[in-house]
């Protein structure tokens, strides 16, 4: 629930500021996801594949955005 609110707020805030870079959204999602995971420390049935995927693709998109 908290994560849903955080993600929705991220989308609304960034779109209001006129951010058109998808890597900015992905990075903020990653930040929100790991912040929520760190605070609530939920038990998981599997490995944290969402976190791993977010980390990987946000790093990739940032690298592309900075032309690395």
């Amino acid at each position: 629930m908290i994560l849903a609110i955080l993600l929705l707020m991220s989308v609304v805030l960034l779109s209001v500021w006129g951010v058109q870079n998808l890597s900015a959204y992905l990075s903020l999602f990653t930040l929100c996801y790991f912040a929520a995971s760190f605070v609530f420390r939920p038990k998981r049935r599997t490995i944290d594949f969402v976190g791993l995927g977010l980390l990987y693709y946000s790093a990739l998109s940032i690298a592309i955005a900075f032309g690395l």
Binding site: L3, A4, L7, L8, S10, V11, L14, S15, V19, Q20, N21, L22, Y25, L26, F29, Y33, P42, K43, R44, R45, T46, D48, F49, V50, L54, Y56, Y57, L60, S61, I64
Partner: protein
């Protein structure tokens, strides 16, 4: 141990195996190179772009820098790991096989979740809608906030899937289980008990454990086991039925929906009681091996453990008996570091 046994079963000649792995790596690198070349060509060749837009518009999206980077990155990531395993001498096939095995099981679990859990179905619907919104927004209408909204739906959907269905357990639950096992321990205390046989429930009832009280009990049929007394009556008593800690597990509503053995054990041992952190199951005919990581085995008395097994194994035996509707006996338990391996045998 489970992984090793699987590996031995599917053994291949080492040289051919390595050659195959090397060919796969080379193919991957060539594919990435071809993708990069196509991207360069698409960006510099106006004729190719025009041809794609008129004959194969999807190709324009597939050859966008982000898509090429994502595909190439994923392929290279996997290849780098494979090469690293090869260079360091670790068995990449073992790890790869394990990953494939896990993925196959995750797919199976997802199907089970869809068929059994409304929340998981909703999560999958959320993730699918998110994926559709993402693709539509990114490729068709090209609106970044909508794309991000779709991605956030995907994240939420998969997060819901990865979370446990129920929270609970912990030290309080373990203390109650320990208390529940004390009653059986007190009953068995004065006897030289032998390995128990877990009897399947009759018409949705309880799982019983048939406990031989003397070593020379011999072969006993299922009906004779069921007729054994549930209380201690005197010195000549040769066996008795006890309620193991997991005797009521067959009555859990979620278990009526066709969950697999591994899902049931995860549900009980990880999600509900937190008695262990990971469960792996191997079934071969009437033999079942259950591996439990982080298993807490010191929460029951000595007699209970000698006859019915440690608490995680005892609970697992109850779940197996209820699922297969057959008597189950715990053949052996082995504690290896943090991991407990229990071998069960289904009796006909």
């Amino acid at each position: 141990m489970l992984t090793r046994s699987r590996k031995r079963e599917s053994g291949q000649p080492v040289a051919g195996h390595r050659l195959g792995e090397a060919l796969i790596d080379i193919q991957t690198i060539i594919i990435v190179g071809l993708l990069y070349w196509l991207l360069q060509e698409e960006q510099s060749n106006a004729y190719l772009r025009g041809w794609l837009s008129s004959n194969f518009p999807l190709g324009l999206y597939l050859l966008s820098p982000l898509t090429v980077a994502a595909i190439s990155g994923t392929l290279l990531f996997i290849t780098v790991f494979r090469i690293a395993f090869f260079v360091t001498g670790k068995d990449s096939a073992l790890v790869g096989g394990e990953v494939l095995y896990l993925l196959r099981r995750q797919g199976k679990h997802l199907r089970e979740l869809v068929s059994t859990k409304a929340t998981s179905t909703s999560a999958l619907v959320l993730a699918s809608s998110g994926a559709a919104l993402t693709l539509y927004s990114y490729f068709i209408i090209q609106v970044v906030p909508f794309t991000a909204l779709g991605i956030s739906c995907i994240i939420l959907g998969f997060t819901i899937i990865s979370l446990p269905r129920h929270t609970g357990g912990g030290p309080g639950m373990r203390a109650m289980l320990q208390g529940a096992s004390r009653g059986v321990e007190a009953l068995l205390e004065q006897y030289n008990v032998e390995k128990a046989t877990y009897l399947p429930p009759v018409e949705g009832g309880e799982v019983f454990a048939y406990v031989p009280l003397t070593p020379d009990i011999g072969a006993v049929s299922l009906s004779e086991m069921r007729r054994a007394p549930k209380a201690l009556s005197g010195n000549g008593q040769r066996a008795m039925l006890v309620y193991p800690v997991g005797s009521e597990l067959g009555k859990i509503l979620e278990f009526q929906d066709g969950l697999s053995l591994e899902e049931r054990l995860k549900y009980i041992l990880i999600e509900s009681t937190e008695i262990c952190s990971r469960v792996m199951v191997e079934e071969t005919g009437n033999a079942i091996v259950v591996g439990m990581e982080g298993a807490n085995v010191d929460v029951q008395g000595q007699k209970y453990r000698r006859s019915l097994g440690s608490l995680p194994s005892s609970i697992a035996a109850c779940v197996i008996a209820a699922l297969h509707d057959k008597p189950v006996t715990l053949l052996e338990e082995r504690k290896m570091g943090d991991r407990l391996i229990a071998r069960f045998q289904l009796l006909e």
